[in-house]
Subunit: 240 residues, 3 copies
């Protein structure tokens, strides 16, 4: 299975152009769009979401990840094999938290093939490599030290909102397991209490809960947490 | 074929997470997103749209339907076999109109497997069941009376807007066949006349027509009916 | 491969309804959504985008293209075979630039089958034909002169914005190869210089570059060109 995680947006044409490459070069392999709306250009937010949202996938899954404001510049492209899954994309930190928390990690640096567009490596560099890996082909590129994936300047948890979903729920880069059970959190001057799931929240009240992927998420039962508290991607929070 | 009808939104990550389960557990079965933007939390609107938008599908189609504000609470999950098609999802009325208008209906109540997230039964409860049905597997769960699907407190037709599409057309929960040919309708103080299709509407005028799925829909030729008349999901209307 | 180019919007239900027809009538053929958000009703914009965005696809690809405000009226539906690829959709100019620039073009006019909805030929007329072509079936319809595809009243290049993407980049209908290298462009009173790719643009400055499909595009490095300069679909520009 090939899984797409990008900031391309839910409509055209970039996802479709990558899918066409994938269907052409890895026929019969299912292609799933996991995220098409990662926050634009926000490599750090994506880096903290990826470990949570990719961990449930079977070994051998190929993640084609493109949040790539530096495309066409000096930043390298990589293939990473982390805990039995493949990741392909630009290397400016996108896989840094995956690598930091990995049991096993290997890394290859990708060359840019002649004729690749300087503005769309997703289609011209990364998708062909993802297709090749999904077919069981050998890894292209030059082996490099997986420490190249790391960003030692980044913290272990991201104490800000990394994604706001269609319901207005705000997903953070903080793993719920890090908190004391029932901890209170402070955001935009509001104290946010813990709830187990939406239906346990008092109507109109924004709470935090451990979402289905293990991250702290701010939500409101049948309401929008983002508009209720003025939350957007990047909004910081702290322990109460 | 597995068909998704949800309020998850057009982007990530929930649809992709369900698709990953489906491709993993029902390999080779096509998965189609019919609705990813049913009105959030609005079970009633979805219940009146489903009969119109699922009737054209072949026997054996599996509809995985998730509008589920009560997830993790006491509301049960169900499998329903209605007129030869399968429906899987939470039971708070989502399949009520399908069941009311059915020639044949059977129903099973689903247990929540251990380890299921209390906030994402779509991925952890309903998608595995949909995959199993699409593979031709036996129905899990306990047989229950299909009257459990019904909502006797709901009317036969929904005289309000149930969905606003990308063009600004407003789809209602009213079947056009119920109206006298050429009837006039009143909405927000406007009298809306009948037209056969968009190109028969006078420019700038909002009309109602019988849409391609048999429902009354308000539209404007090359314009937006929603902004022209201040229509949103929930806007009521009546006979003139 | 069947490729969808429509103005249906990124969510439901129209794309899913067409995909259901395609999976049912052309089992196993991959279906890719290239554009689901072509500018609504804007046949001309789509006509200049199609040559750029379809040229990279392999011979035999079937493009199912629906920007169709005249649906149900007198406008004919067509199949066009242009330079070895298939195009199916309404004929009000959608394929005019493809045909004008073609080495080889053939054309068939489609009949509307009985029972087709007068408001959704995409599902009832064009999708079944696309499925048939993708299966290798014969072309239905009556051979007609491919000059029927042309719009002699349209210019060779479209000097206006034809599409604004998720990042706020503005794609035009002008092929970059037509311009002198490094030419300056004028839009909304701003002088826009040339850059090779995003990372070569000075922060905060909107430039034009040749996008990954050969068209002139206005963009800003890690910013939104559309809001910076007040650009929307239809905004004209000229040589400086």
């Amino acid at each position: 299975m090939i899984v797409l995680c990008t900031d391309f947006g839910p409509a055209g044409p970039y996802t479709g152009q990558m899918q066409a490459v994938l269907h052409g070069q890895a026929p019969g392999v299912p292609v799933v769009s996991l995220f098409t709306d990662l926050p634009p250009f926000d490599i750090e937010a994506a880096a903290y979401l990826l470990p949570a949202y990719t961990r449930g996938f079977p070994p051998g899954t190929v993640f084609l990840c493109v949040v790539d404001p530096g495309v066409g510049g000096a930043r390298p492209g990589v293939v990473a094999e982390i805990d039995g899954r493949w990741y392909v994309g630009p290397n400016e930190g996108l896989f840094a938290l995956l690598a930091r928390r990995a049991d096993t990690a290997r890394c290859w640096q990708l060359a840019v093939p002649p004729g690749a567009s300087p503005s769309f490596h997703g289609r011209d560099v990364f998708a062909p490599v993802a297709a090749r890996l999904a077919r069981g082909g050998s890894v292209p590129g030059e082996v490099t030290d997986p420490t190249a994936l790391l960003r030692p300047d980044w913290a272990d948890e991201l104490w800000r909102v990394a994604y706001v979903d269609h319901y207005g729920n705000a997903i953070t880069g903080l793993r719920a397991a890090v908190l004391e059970p029932g901890a209170g959190l402070l955001l935009n001057g509001y104290l946010l209490k813990y709830a187990r799931t939406f239906s346990d929240m008092q109507d109109g009240l924004v709470c935090w809960y451990e979402n289905a992927n293990g991250l702290v998420e701010f939500a409101s039962n049948r309401g929008r947490a983002d508009t209720a508290l003025g939350i957007q991607v990047g909004t910081p929070f702290s322990l109460a």
